[in-house]
């Protein structure tokens, strides 16, 4: 019980200090609104339904961009991981494109696609593509060659070899890519929404800045943090769900009980 409480003491104390210094006037509301003010802003925006619609549009951009970029990265990674010809043909080009920071493309993307949904989804997809691609490629490439050899001796065809050996073998690496890509996804979205948007959490923050509503700005920052944490939890849940065989997720069981030798 005590061990569960102790880690909370410091954040709670800081929160209290923050609230008190705001309330007695040491900290101007212009600089940093009190936690209570942020909560109140959240309550107010939540009640009007405005908050939910901004969150929904941001989440939708994130999800669509992730699905497109992640899907392409996964397909390309599997292709170049399992075929030498595909690797020689594609991998070099992807590695070259990867060195361009995708956020540097923002001016170009705005020129091409304007400031609409397509631009943001394109940027998210582009940012997500590379970590998924790299980890998928690496995962497929590093599946134990002994297992592949065994599968061939046991008469598995190409499709079964892929389904039962290559894909599950690459999955731990792919999921590491997914977790990393989720971070990139939110970062890209924050930047894209603060630069050019008429809706979404980033827009909420930038709009509030014009009206000096620091409480809403802080609220938006906290929302991003919360959504990031949520995405990470989903990724962890996926890992536990998809890799139940993995020693890292196994229920603690002794490898061999004494007297059970063979």
């Amino acid at each position: 019980m005590r061990r569960k409480l102790i880690p909370w003491l410091v954040p709670l104390a800081l929160l209290l200090l923050w609230q008190v210094s705001g309330s007695v006037g040491w900290l101007s509301n212009r600089v940093l609104p009190t936690p209570a003010a942020v909560l109140a802003a959240g309550w107010h925006l939540g009640a009007s339904g405005e908050l939910a619609s901004h969150i929904a549009i941001s989440a939708q951009r994130a999800a669509v961009g992730f699905a497109i970029g992640g899907g392409i990265g996964l397909l390309l990674g599997i292709l170049t991981g399992s075929s030498r010809i595909a690797e020689d043909l594609i991998d070099g080009s992807v590695q070259m494109l990867r060195t361009v920071p995708h956020l540097a493309l923002i001016p170009l993307v705005i020129l091409w696609l304007g400031v609409g949904e397509a631009a943001k989804i394109f940027l998210v997809a582009l940012g997500v593509l590379f970590p998924i691609y790299l980890n998928t490629h690496h995962g497929v490439r590093t599946v134990d060659s002994g297992l592949i050899e065994m599968a061939r001796v046991y008469g598995l065809g190409r499709w079964d070899l892929f389904r039962k050996v290559l894909l599950p073998g690459a999955l731990p690496s792919i999921l590491i890519g997914v977790r990393y890509a989720l971070g990139v996804m939110w970062l890209t979205l924050i930047v894209a929404e603060t630069i050019a948007a008429t809706s979404g959490i980033g827009y909420l923050a930038m709009n509030a800045r014009e009206f000096l509503r620091t409480d809403v700005v802080v609220l938006s920052i906290l929302l991003y943090a919360l959504l990031g944490k949520l995405a990470d939890s989903v990724a962890r849940w996926l890992e536990r769900r998809l890799l139940p065989w993995h020693p890292a997720h196994a229920v603690a069981l002794p490898a061999a009980l004494p007297g059970e030798g063979a």
């Binding site: 002994g146 297992l147 046991y154 008469g155 598995l156 050996v165 993995h246």
Partner: protein, 239 residues
């Protein structure tokens, strides 16, 4: 029960770069025979097994399985590797079912029962001991009724007591299945305990062979048993 295949290999030559591993090797096995190949490490015994399985190809020479020239993978052969090679993401039962046609529940259960692991069918391989993993690997190898069973030092990484138990298991599985069985090992006592015929591989060719004419299961306290072990060991160690 399947019928074991006949194996006939003639003038096999295999080299890796400049290193010749097999030179003009002749080898044969009768249907249902238990042949054990012994030799020091690097004598080419694993390479021979891989050629018979069709995983690897010889530069020269030919292999015939039941009179047919082997091209590509040998479809009647199943192999058990030293490191087991169970798929860690498939449960024990699904590992045994690998390469079996669909609707194989009964067969999988039956095979696990024969190796004494029927109650572990839903377990992940990671929680099994080394000996248990090899039992599953044996069940998987025999599930499809192979005509040729290739065992590449399957007991190499087990402790001495587990090895003894597993040798008994391998003998009874071989007896039940009727498969032609070729075991590679560097343990001469294991060879004498299991073999109908022992082949000594040295410098890439079959140097010597012994017929083991002792009643099964073999009695290790029999002077003939230890005499044969000493005799084979002497030839293995001879430079």
């Amino acid at each position: 029960m399947s019928t074991g295949v006949a194996v006939e290999a003639a003038n096999l030559h295999r080299q890796f770069g400049a290193k010749v591993v097999l030179r003009d090797l002749n080898f044969h096995a009768e249907p249902g025979e238990f042949v054990v190949i012994v030799g020091r490490s690097g004598c080419g015994k694993s390479t021979l097994l891989r050629l018979l399985a069709g995983i690897d190809r010889a530069e020269r020479g030919s292999i015939q399985i039941s009179g047919e020239v082997l091209i590509g993978l040998c479809s009647s052969a199943r192999m058990v590797f030293q490191d087991g090679r169970l798929l860690p993401w498939l449960r024990v039962g699904d590992n045994v079912a690998l390469g079996l046609p669909k609707d194989n529940d009964g067969r999988v259960r039956d095979m696990l029962d024969r190796v004494g692991l029927a109650d572990r069918i839903r377990d992940w391989p990671a929680i099994l001991s080394g000996g248990q993993k090899q039992r599953v690997a044996l069940a998987r190898a025999l599930a499809a009724n192979p005509g040729l069973l290739l065992l590449d030092e399957p007991l190499g990484s087990l402790d001495a007591l587990t090895r003894l138990e597993m040798q008994g298991l391998i003998e009874s599985l071989w007896h039940q299945s009727g498969a032609t069985t070729i075991l590679v090992t560097h343990d001469v006592e294991e060879a004498v305990a299991l073999a109908d015929r022992i082949v000594l591989l040295k410098r890439g060719h079959a140097e010597d062979e012994w017929l083991v004419d002792l009643p099964r299961p073999r009695d290790r306290s029999n002077p003939a048993f230890s005499g044969l072990v000493q005799s084979v060991l002497g030839h293995v160690m001879e430079v």
